[in-house]
């Protein structure tokens, strides 16, 4: 009886210390700092005026400038706004085929009548690119599609010199990297659907098309939205592939410049503006993340009500 009166609660706090201390130092404080800088007129000069020999940054004191950094981003014809569009376009070019192909594959893999053989092999192969560094893909595709490269030699079109050609290549790389992952997530979702629903649909004479649109899609909506949101947040952070493909330049014509590429190149330069970009990334992620949370919470609430009723 005495043992039970011992309170173990303090151990809960003690075990949480490492996580929270590290999180506050390396994530939370820098996040607040980024918010703070985003309202500052803060440009560090890299000593380029003196010939660029000294790496010593000229110390400047940040000055409060209100929303100037933000209005600079959203002013028409701004480079930064263009970067947002580029990022969104390249994400969509990869994401649309990705979700379509993954959905079809997931349905095929889980179709009991179709009985796809060697599923383990197929799944292992389509997931493989996801564990490979994106930089390697960017590098390889550059050497294939640039002038003198293997594929350029066949198609004779310098795809990497046109905006849409390069965006297409970035989209293709992102598709190859991620469609296996999405397929597996959607498969897990479809396999979680109550099999009796499919059985009764079959007995009622539903075609496979009807089953897909009326049963599968509505029931895997939560995971579909999860995939959409995580892919969107991931797409917003697109960096490796376009940066390596274009040597950080976003060529041609800065049509491949992504938001994170600008942040990276301004870490010691225009800190105020780069921070404002960070904050916008944060805000968009927060909004779509919250939408996802509310959507799934709503679902749970409805289920509970139904159970009670």
């Amino acid at each position: 009886m005495k043992r039970k009166s011992i309170s173990y609660a303090k151990w809960g706090y003690i075990f949480l210390i490492p996580f929270f201390v590290v999180y506050i130092i390396f994530s939370l404080y820098p996040l607040f700092q980024t918010f703070y800088y985003s309202f500052m007129d803060y440009v560090k000069d890299q000593g380029a005026v003196g010939g660029g020999w000294t790496r010593q940054a000229v110390e400047v004191t940040p000055e409060f400038c209100g929303l100037k950094n933000y209005s600079a981003i959203f002013s028409s014809g701004s480079d930064l706004l263009q970067a947002f569009w580029n990022t969104i376009i390249m994400w969509l070019v990869g994401f649309i085929p990705q979700i379509a192909v993954s959905l079809i594959l997931a349905v095929w893999f889980t179709d009991l009548r179709l009985k796809i053989k060697a599923q383990g092999f197929f799944k292992a192969v389509i997931y493989l690119p996801n564990v490979i560094m994106a930089s390697a893909f960017a590098f390889l595709f550059y050497s294939l599609f640039s002038r003198g490269g293997a594929i350029y030699d066949i198609i004779k079109i310098p795809l990497l010199e046109s905006a849409w050609g390069s965006r297409g290549i970035v989209g293709l790389i992102n598709f190859i990297l991620w469609y296996g992952n999405t397929t597996i997530l959607l498969m897990a979702a479809i396999m979680g659907v109550d099999p009796s629903l499919y059985e009764s649909a079959q007995i009622d004479g539903a075609t496979s098309n009807q089953t897909f649109w009326k049963i599968t899609i509505p029931l895997i909506k939560p995971i579909m939205s999860f995939v959409l949101v995580t892919s969107m947040i991931g797409g917003l952070q697109m960096y490796d592939v376009p940066a390596l493909l274009t040597k950080d330049m976003g060529t041609p014509n800065r049509k491949l410049m992504t938001v994170v590429m600008i942040i990276q190149s301004n870490k010691q330069g225009n800190i105020g503006k780069a921070s404002a970009l960070c904050v916008i990334i944060f805000a968009i992620s927060a909004v779509v993340g919250m939408l996802l949370m509310f959507a799934s919470a709503d679902k749970d609430g409805k289920k509970k009500k139904k159970k009670r009723g």
Binding site: V131, F139, S143, D153, V260
Partner: protein
């Protein structure tokens, strides 16, 4: 009569099933080719010479030359040492994956086992910050690290792994299904201290979850380009993707596609080998990670 139509119906559905099956396998085989083609080309390219006009389907004879060139001193001077980059990436990925699983498990254990006032708050907090992308605090992170004099060191690349919300979430899910509280209570009755219980009794139970998460964290850090690029400056500290990036800047005179391809093959080989051995577990881990999502 009804029986007859049944048979006819079955037959027509059999042929349509057959067609569907053919379509499915054709598409799957096409996708297998799309997924494997880059790897095949890389391996072939690694055996080819400096400039590679046209496509080639069979290996050439430059593999040894490329190997020698890759590990030559001048290559290290120009792009950063290949050996060093492999060792650096191994060190960073090894440290981050071990730190991340251990401390994430400890954090999840605190929430799973103990009842304290801020328990719900801590759990919700970690779930919310899981959504915050690292890039959102990048500028503040860089400025703070440079104030502390930690840029161009591995501290900002390794230590943050202790607070890994996604790994925490996975561990928590795993504990909910595999760690009965009775075990902890039994250990307490036997007079085992709380910290010792976690280290000696709980961690062995979590081994499968550790394995999956070590692989994921290792691969993520091995492939990471953004963070090392943000923090590291000197070539001797470069990780693999940074050396790859340096190679992209090679002028037409120094450009050696054969050698660069060989470097990529070497860089992705460890991951591919581990993946091929454990693909079953990895894929199961991917599916598990978000079923609740």
């Amino acid at each position: 009569m009804p029986m007859n139509t049944d048979v006819v119906g079955a037959k027509s559905s059999n042929t349509s099933l057959m067609i569907k099956r053919i379509v499915a396998y054709t598409v799957l085989i096409l996708l297998v080719i799309v997924s494997l083609f880059p790897f095949y080309l890389l391996i072939i390219n690694a055996t080819r010479g400096r400039s590679q006009p046209g496509i080639r389907w069979v290996p050439d004879h430059f593999l040894i030359t490329n190997f020698k060139n890759l590990f030559k001193g001048t290559t290290a001077v120009a792009y950063g040492s290949v050996w060093r980059s492999l060792a650096n990436s191994l060190f960073i990925s090894g440290c981050t994956s071990l730190l991340s699983v251990y401390f994430s498990a400890l954090t999840a254990y605190a929430i799973h086992v103990y009842h304290f006032k801020l328990r719900k708050f801590a759990d919700t907090f970690i779930l919310i910050v899981m959504m915050v992308p690292t890039q959102a605090s990048a500028i503040g992170f860089y400025q703070f690290m440079s104030k502390l004099g930690l840029t161009d060191t591995y501290v900002p690349l390794i230590v943050p792994a202790i607070a890994a919300p996604a790994t925490y979430y996975f561990m928590k899910q795993y504990m909910a299904s595999a760690l009965p509280l009775e075990i902890v209570e039994a250990a307490r009755i036997d007079g085992c201290g709380e910290f010792k219980t976690f280290n000696k009794i709980v961690t062995p139970i979590l081994k499968p979850a550790f394995a999956v998460q070590i692989i994921f964290t290792f691969v993520t850090n091995w492939n990471n380009y953004f963070m090392p690029r943000l923090i590291l400056e000197s070539k001797s500290k470069y990780t693999i993707p940074l050396v790859l990036n340096a190679m992209r800047y090679a002028g037409p005179q120094e450009k050696d596609v054969g050698m660069f391809s060989l470097y990529i093959v070497i860089a992705i080989l460890p991951v591919v080998v581990v993946y091929l051995c454990l693909s079953k577990f990895i894929i199961r881990g991917v599916a598990l990670g978000s079923v609740k999502g």
